[in-house]
C-alpha cells in the first residue's frame, strides 16, 4: 500500500510538470490555433531564469585567508557573495539560499516579455499558415533557443538546489496512521505539486471569472464568431501567448531543484507534453491537466520493479502505449471536442 501511495505521489509530481506545459500548449492551440513546438523551450528558459538569478545572487568577491591553505599549499581564497556584504550575513545568505523561490517573481515579467517577443516577432506571421509550417518554425525556434542557452551555460546540468528549509523529506504516512518512515516524501516535491495546483487553479479562475477569460474561452469555442463581434483578437493573442509562456516558465523555475537544468530539458518534456495534449484532447484545458496527471502516475507505476519484471521495458513506452489505446478507442482524446484537428 505504501509503495502504491508513493508512486501516486511521484506521478503527481511528474504529472504536475506535464500538466503545466500541456496547459500552455492547449491554451495556445485552443485560442491561436498554433501548434507550438517551442513550448518546451519556454519551460527550459524558465529553469535558466532560476539558474541566472541564483548565479547573480551568489556573485562573490575573493578574500585571501592567510591562515588556511588550499590543496596546492597556497593561501586559501574565500568567496563572499556581494549580497552578504550589502545586506548582512543572515539576510544575504538567506537571499542566496532562497534564490529559486525568488526567481518566481523575476521569471513572471521575463517570461511574459519573451512570450510577447516570440508571438509578435515570429508566431503572428504563421497564424494563417498550415499546421506543418507552424510546427517547423516553432521547432526551429526551439532549437535556436536551446543552442543559445547551451552557448551561454554549457551542456552540463547545473545543480540549483531548493532552500535548505525544504531539503529532506516529510513523513506523510504518519498523517494517515501509517508506521513512522513508511511514506517519506521530499518537501520540495510537495511544494512543487502545491505550486502547480495553484497555477492551474489560477489559470482556470482567470478564464472562468474574468471578461478577458470569457472572450478567450469563446475564442476557443468559435474563433471566427468572436472575430466577427469586433473583438481585438490580436491583442488577446499576445496576452494568451504571454500567459502560456509564463506558466511554462514558472513550471521550469520550480522544477530546478528536482532535476538540475540542462539545455535540452525542454525537448525532453515537450514530446511527452504533446502526447499529454493529444491524450487529453486537443484544445481541452481540462483534458490536458487530467491527462498530465494520469500519464505521470501511469509512468511512475510502470517504473516499479514488479511491473518491469512482468513486462520488460514498459517504463519506457507506457505513455505512448496509452496514447495509442486512447486514440484508437477515442480519437478526440479524453475530453476533446468534436471538430478540433478533424476534417
Amino acid at each position: 500500500m505504501e509503495a502504491i501511495i508513493l508512486q501516486v505521489l511521484n506521478g503527481l509530481d511528474k504529472g504536475s510538470a506535464y500538466a503545466l506545459i500541456a496547459l500552455g500548449l492547449t491554451l495556445i492551440f485552443g485560442t491561436l490555433g498554433v501548434v507550438n513546438f517551442a513550448h518546451g523551450a519556454l519551460f527550459m528558459m524558465g529553469a535558466f531564469v532560476a539558474v541566472t538569478v541564483k548565479r547573480l545572487l551568489g556573485t562573490s568577491y575573493e578574500v585571501v585567508d592567510e591562515t588556511r591553505t588550499d590543496f596546492l599549499g597556497n593561501p586559501m581564497t574565500i568567496d563572499t557573495p556581494y549580497v552578504v556584504s550589502w545586506f548582512g550575513e543572515s539576510v544575504g545568505n538567506a537571499m542566496v539560499d532562497w534564490a529559486v523561490p525568488l526567481s518566481v517573481l523575476i521569471a513572471i515579467p521575463i517570461m511574459a516579455v519573451i512570450g510577447v517577443a516570440i508571438e509578435r516577432g515570429l508566431i503572428k506571421h504563421f497564424y494563417k499558415r498550415p499546421h506543418a509550417d507552424q510546427i517547423l518554425v516553432t521547432f526551429g525556434l526551439a532549437i535556436v533557443l536551446q543552442e543559445i542557452i547551451k552557448a551561454f551555460y554549457g551542456a552540463n546540468p547545473i545543480p540549483t538546489p531548493a532552500p535548505s528549509a525544504f531539503t529532506g523529506s516529510f513523513d506523510i504516512g504518519q498523517l494517515f496512521g501509517f508506521d513512522p518512515f513508511a511514506i517519506m516524501y521530499p518537501y520540495w516535491r510537495l511544494v512543487y505539486f502545491g505550486f502547480s495546483a495553484i497555477i492551474i487553479a489560477a489559470v482556470f479562475a482567470f478564464l472562468q471569472f474574468t471578461t478577458f477569460g470569457m472572450v478567450v474561452r469563446a475564442g476557443m469555442a468559435d474563433r471566427e464568431t468572436v472575430g466577427l463581434l469586433g473583438i481585438d483578437i490580436d491583442r488577446r493573442f499576445v496576452i494568451v501567448f504571454a500567459i502560456a509562456a509564463v506558466v511554462a516558465g514558472l513550471a521550469g523555475v520550480m522544477y530546478t531543484p528536482i532535476l538540475s537544468p540542462n539545455y535540452h530539458m525542454g525537448m525532453d518534456f515537450l514530446v511527452l507534453s504533446f502526447v499529454v495534449v493529444v491524450v487529453g484532447g486537443m484544445g481541452s484545458l481540462g483534458g490536458a491537466v487530467l491527462a498530465g496527471f494520469l500519464l505521470g502516475i501511469l509512468q511512475s507505476f510502470a517504473s516499479m520493479s514488479a511491473i518491469i519484471e512482468l513486462v520488460p521495458g514498459i517504463n519506457q513506452v507506457i505513455i505512448y502505449l496509452v496514447a495509442v489505446i486512447v486514440l484508437l478507442t477515442r480519437p478526440r482524446g479524453l475530453l476533446g471536442r468534436k471538430g478540433v484537428m478533424e476534417d
Binding site: 505504501e2 509503495a3 508513493l6 508512486q7 505521489l9 511521484n10 509530481d13 511528474k14 588550499d70 590543496f71 596546492l72 586559501m76 551542456a155 552540463n156 546540468p157 545543480p159 531539503t167 529532506g168 523529506s169 513523513d171 518512515f181 513508511a182 517519506m184 516524501y185 521530499p186 520540495w188 516535491r189 528536482i258 532535476l259 538540475s260 525532453d268 509512468q299 511512475s300 517504473s303 516499479m304 520493479s305 518491469i308 517504463n315 519506457q316
Partner: protein, 458 residues
C-alpha cells in the same frame, strides 16, 4: 628420365624464399617495426603526430569528459616539453624527453562521444579518417569504450581506453589494439567486500539500482558475487535507463522492499541524481529491523562527490586513484603530487581519477612508441604487453599481456562527514594491494573474449 630444374638461378630464388620464410618469426619484432615508418594507418610525417581524444562533452558523464580533456591537453603540453613536465619527472621509464614523440610535435583533435556509442564511433572515425589520428583515447562509458575499441581494431590504430570500468572491456570484448589502465568491476568487488563486511556485517539485504548497459550489468554482477559470498542477500536488482535524470520512481519502492542497504550501480551525473534523490526520499534516515539503512556507491569519484555535496557523507566506494594518495600513503604512489601540482596550477582544482587515467594512458602510449621506436600499432602492442612501470601515481603497475589490463592497487574511499573545503570530500579508508586485486586470466567473468592479433591497418 626426367630433366631436373636444378639451375643456379632457381637455387638462388629458392634460397631467398626459404630464408625469408625462416625469418618470418623474427620479422615482427621491435627493430624491424622500428624501421617500418610506413605501411600502417595514419603513419605520421616527420614534424608532427596527431592523437584523437574522444570524450563525452554532453550527457550523463560530461563532467568526467571535461576533466579527461583537461588531462589530455596537459599530457600533450608535457610531451611537447612545455609546462613543468608533470609525471614525466617521476615515470619509471626514461624514454620520453619532452621533445614530442619520436621527435615529432604532438598535436591533437577532440570529439564529443555524447555518451552514445554511435556518436562516439562516428567522431572516432572522423578523427581517424579526416584528421589522421594515430591513437584514440577517452571514454567515460564502457559501452562507448567497447564500441570505439572495436572500431580502432578494425581501423588499425591504438585505443588507449580512458574511464571504462566494465569487465567486458578487457574481458569478452578485449582487442589486441586496445589497452585499459583503469580498474574494473571485479577489482572493485575484491577491494570493497572486506570493507563492507567490516562496516555493515554479514547479514544484510541489498537492493541494486543498476545502469542498464554493459558497465551496470558488470558492476552489479561483481558486487552481487562478492556480497553474497559474505552472506548478504540480494532482495532486488532493478535496471534503470542511462541519463534518466529523475530516479524517484525507482527509488521510492526501495524503502518498503525489506532491503536495508542500497547499492547504486550508477556513475557520473546519474549517480549524483540517484544518490541525491535517495537521500531526499529519506532512505538514510530509515531503520529496517533495528539497523540503519545504508547506501553503497561501488565506483566513486571526486567529481561525483562534488556534485552530490553533503549527500555523499559516510558512503563507501572504490576508486582507481585519489589525488591525496601520495600525501596520505607515501612514496609508493609517487607521481601523484607532481600531477596534482601541475594540473592544479593549470586549472585551479585537483584532478579526478578520470583525468589521472587519461593522462597516464597518453604517457604510456607515447612511451611505448618511443621504446619500440615506431608508431606502428604492432610495435606499440609489443612494447606495452607485460610492461611493468611505476611513478604514474598508482604504485608499481603491470600491463598484463593476456588481456591488456593494468593491475595495480585499488583505493577504498568514504565520503567525508566534515570536509574542510570543496575538494576534500573523500577520505581514503583502505588500499587493496595489487596482488589481492589481481584475478586469474581464466576468471569466468572475463571469459569468451579473444585479443586476436594486432592490426596495423593500411
Amino acid at each position: 628420365m626426367s630433366k631436373g630444374n636444378f639451375t643456379r638461378r632457381n637455387m638462388l630464388k629458392s634460397g631467398a624464399v626459404t630464408g625469408a620464410a625462416l625469418a618470418v618469426p623474427t620479422i615482427f619484432t621491435g627493430r624491424v617495426w622500428a624501421d617500418a615508418h610506413t605501411g600502417f594507418t595514419n603513419a605520421p610525417g616527420d614534424s608532427s603526430v596527431t592523437l584523437g581524444f574522444n570524450v563525452p562533452q554532453t550527457g550523463a558523464y560530461a563532467d568526467e569528459g571535461a576533466d579527461e580533456l583537461r588531462a589530455f591537453q596537459l599530457a600533450v603540453k608535457h610531451l611537447n616539453g612545455e609546462g613543468d613536465g608533470g609525471m614525466l619527472n617521476t615515470f619509471s621509464s626514461s624514454a620520453l624527453d619532452g621533445t614530442g614523440i619520436l621527435g615529432r610535435r604532438v598535436e591533437y583533435v577532440t570529439g564529443d562521444t555524447q555518451t552514445s556509442s554511435d556518436a562516439a564511433r562516428s567522431s572516432a572515425r572522423s578523427m581517424i579518417e579526416r584528421d589522421g589520428a594515430i591513437m584514440i583515447s577517452g571514454g567515460s562509458s564502457s559501452g562507448v569504450a567497447i564500441a570505439v575499441q572495436g572500431l580502432c581494431q578494425d581501423a588499425g590504430v591504438i585505443f588507449m581506453a580512458g574511464l571504462t570500468h566494465s569487465n567486458d572491456t578487457t574481458g569478452k570484448d578485449r582487442r589486441a589494439n586496445g589497452f585499459r589502465h583503469f580498474f574494473n568491476t571485479e577489482q572493485s568487488g575484491r577491494a570493497l567486500a572486506p570493507i563492507l563486511e567490516a562496516a555493515y556485517g554479514t547479514d544484510r539485504r541489498a537492493y541494486h539500482l543498476t545502469a542498464d548497459y554493459t558497465w551496470g550489468w558488470s558492476q552489479q554482477r561483481s558486487m552481487q558475487t562478492y556480497t553474497e559470498d559474505m552472506g548478504w542477500e540480494t532482495t532486488n536488482a532493478v535496471l534503470t535507463p542511462v541519463g534518466a535524470g529523475d530516479f524517484s520512481s525507482y527509488i521510492t519502492p526501495v524503502a518498503n522492499s525489506g532491503a536495508d542497504l542500497l547499492i547504486l550501480n550508477h556513475y557520473g551525473g546519474d549517480m549524483v541524481n540517484s544518490l541525491t534523490q535517495a537521500v531526499q526520499f529519506g532512505l538514510r534516515d530509515l531503520q529496517v529491523d533495528g539497523v540503519n539503512f545504508e547506501i553503497v556507491v561501488p565506483l566513486y569519484s571526486e567529481l561525483m562527490a562534488r556534485g552530490a555535496g553533503s549527500n555523499i557523507a559516510g558512503i563507501l566506494g572504490s576508486q582507481n586513484w585519489d589525488w591525496k594518495i601520495e600525501n596520505e600513503r607515501g612514496d609508493r604512489y609517487a607521481g601523484t603530487n607532481a600531477f596534482v601540482q601541475s594540473f592544479g596550477q593549470e586549472y585551479g582544482f585537483p584532478p579526478s581519477q578520470a583525468a589521472q587515467t587519461c593522462y597516464a594512458q597518453t604517457m604510456l602510449y607515447a612511451d611505448a612508441v618511443s621504446r619500440g621506436g615506431s608508431f606502428n600499432p604492432c610495435s606499440v602492442v609489443e612494447a606495452l604487453e607485460g610492461f611493468e612501470f611505476d611513478g604514474l601515481g598508482n604504485g608499481p603497475t603491470l600491463y598484463r599481456a593476456d588481456d591488456h589490463q593494468c593491475f595495480k592497487d585499488v583505493v577504498v574511499v568514504r565520503g567525508k562527514e566534515n570536509p574542510e573545503n570543496e575538494f576534500d570530500l573523500v577520505e581514503i579508508v583502505d588500499i587493496t594491494s595489487r596482488e589481492d586485486a589481481t584475478y586469474a586470466t581464466d576468471h569466468p567473468d572475463f571469459a569468451g573474449g579473444d585479443l586476436g592479433t594486432c592490426n596495423p591497418g593500411a
